[in-house]
Amino acid sequence: MNIIVCMKQVIDLEQIRIKPNTREPVIEGLPLLFGDFEKCALEEAIRIKEVHGGKVTALAVGSPKLRDTIKEALAMGADEAIILIDPIFQDSDAMGSARVLARTIEKVGEYDLILLGDSSADEYSGEIPPRIAELLNLPQVGFVREIEVVADNDQMSEPKKIRVARDMEDSLEVIEVDLPAVIGVTSELNTPRLAPLSAILKASRKPMHEWRSDDIGVTAEEVGARASVVEMLSNLAPIQDRKGIIYQDVEEGVIEVIKALQQEGVLTQ
């Protein structure tokens, strides 16, 4: 089974600082990493491959820093990686990024399953999986927390179906999906393995392709800032006006906090 895993490098969200006067986020120079959901997608792909054979390809669109970030995917166990780096791709909206990914997947050609995070850690939009599925005219299931490969016959080598459990508001839906399909996963799926140091060192020996816009035949009319149809007017931290009174002494803290809560009027009598 050939599996493509789409992975997005995101800045370390824990390290974002907010400028107190303007409420603007400071994101320059922060480390980039893969989100938890994407790592679960990759982990699942590797596990499926370990049982059913085939190949796992990690795919990512992003900045030149990807050349470094992607090593983690190879070290975890992806057989091959394709990274897409091109100034033309910069400032793409979700439609632009989905186009780049879909075009790349078409060029790769042989795939049975496309795994993604259900939503990315920074945007948390969930737009990319449905858009890719639409561009490739494939079925799509999101919020997936269990995946099982279903054998049609005795030959386990060519599974054509998977069974997934997807997490709805009030129920789990178990769904059988014909392959190929686009599946968005959440972090309940598995616990991603940590890549051992030896694997990280060996990762650069695995095939890693870097493609540009002409490799996949997209133009600046279709992707990037010019093709973007979503315009951001502002992006600011909400006003938070907190008192920040912290007690290091437990005895004092308990007495003072309860006193303060009574004064604030939030302790119902």
Partner: protein, 320 residues
């Protein structure tokens, strides 16, 4: 081409969107209609008319069995075309979140999911949503001809208006069979509480060592007359509490008067859910925990020492 079309499989969400839709329709000078899918759709049209829709586009097809984004997006696209709608508002339920981007892609349109605010500025629809994992709120406009916006389901309340009638317009759908089959639906263990109603909310995180110790947290909540919620690991990894007790970006976003974070580090995906709390209290044994940065009051200490003392003192003070 112009018009606002509303769809949600969740009636409550669709009716809430009609409340906001009415305001947008007036400001933008567009008709307001609703899309209804499924076999009893036509029978339900009246309630939508009573909430401000002037047309109901109704359609059914044997391929609209269980929800499958590919088929539902195809059905909705046919309604959008027939209604000549350029703004589509969808409830950002799990299904709506899968549906909206796929529908948008059919029209090469821009989309925003999980919208937390809609307003008209200079005749443009301005949409707010969280960004950077919840660190910020961004304001966006969609510049494509069609706009698809998935709006948080409980953002607007349903408000019926004086009895009004509307027009039912049948749409004959052409759909392919789905490539998916619903095998079973397992119901989830429902939480016993509705966190959105909590005035006092005590949330617990990975600082709790054992499931049994939840009784300590429950006792604290009881002495405050509050409810118990949690972070994602507690509900989704350990399954110590029901999943609808999880607070944060991917869970509930309550706005209590008082919120207590116990053994919670304060990562943004959690804290974004309680930003609207009036007073935030944090208890954590790590003085550098980020939760203290957003707290009004904090106690640095082991929760197993602090919580029993709080309970004892509260019981003295409040007689509970």
């Amino acid at each position: 081409m112009s018009g606002i079309l509303i769809y949600s499989e969740l009636e409550e969400a669709a009716l809430g969107l009609l409340t906001k839709g009415r305001e947008l329709a007036t400001k933008l000078g567009k008709p307001l209609s609703v899309a209804l899918l499924g076999n009893e759709a036509a029978d339900q049209a009246d309630i939508y008319f009573a909430h401000g829709a002037t047309q109901a586009y109704v359609g059914d097809d044997p391929n609209l069995t269980h929800f499958q984004a590919r088929i539902y997006a195809a059905a909705l696209a046919q309604m959008v075309t027939q209604a000549q709608a350029d703004i589509v508002l969808i409830g950002s339920t799990r299904r709506g979140r899968e549906l909206a981007p796929r529908l948008a892609q059919k029209f090469s349109a821009g989309c925003v999911t999980d919208a937390i605010g809609l307003s008209v500025q200079d005749q443009r629809l301005v949409i707010e949503r969280r960004a950077l994992g919840g660190n910020t709120v961004s304001a966006k406009v969609i510049t494509s001809q069609h706009q698809v916006i998935a709006v948080m389901p409980k953002l607007y309340d349903a408000e019926p208006e004086a009895a009004s009638a509307g027009e039912v317009i049948p749409v004959s759908l052409e759909l392919e069979p789905p490539a998916t089959k619903l095998i079973e639906r397992r119901s989830k263990e429902a939480g016993v509480v509705n966190l959105e109603e909590a005035e006092v909310l005590v949330c617990v995180g990975r600082g709790l060592a054992n499931k049994d110790d939840l009784s300590l947290i429950q006792t604290l909540a009881d002495s405050l007359g509050g409810m118990v919620g949690c972070t994602r690991p507690i509900s989704h990894e350990y399954h110590w509490l029901a999943e609808d007790q999880m607070v944060g970006l991917s869970g509930k976003e309550p706005s209590p008067h008082l919120y207590l974070a116990i053994g919670i580090s304060g990562q943004i995906q959690h804290t974004v859910g309680i930003m609207d709390a009036k007073v935030i209290v944090a208890i954590n044994n790590d003085t550098n925990a980020p939760i203290f940065k957003i707290a009004d009051y904090g106690i640095v200490g082991d929760l197993y020492q602090v919580v029993p003392k709080l309970i004892e003192r509260l019981q003295q003070e409040l007689g509970r």
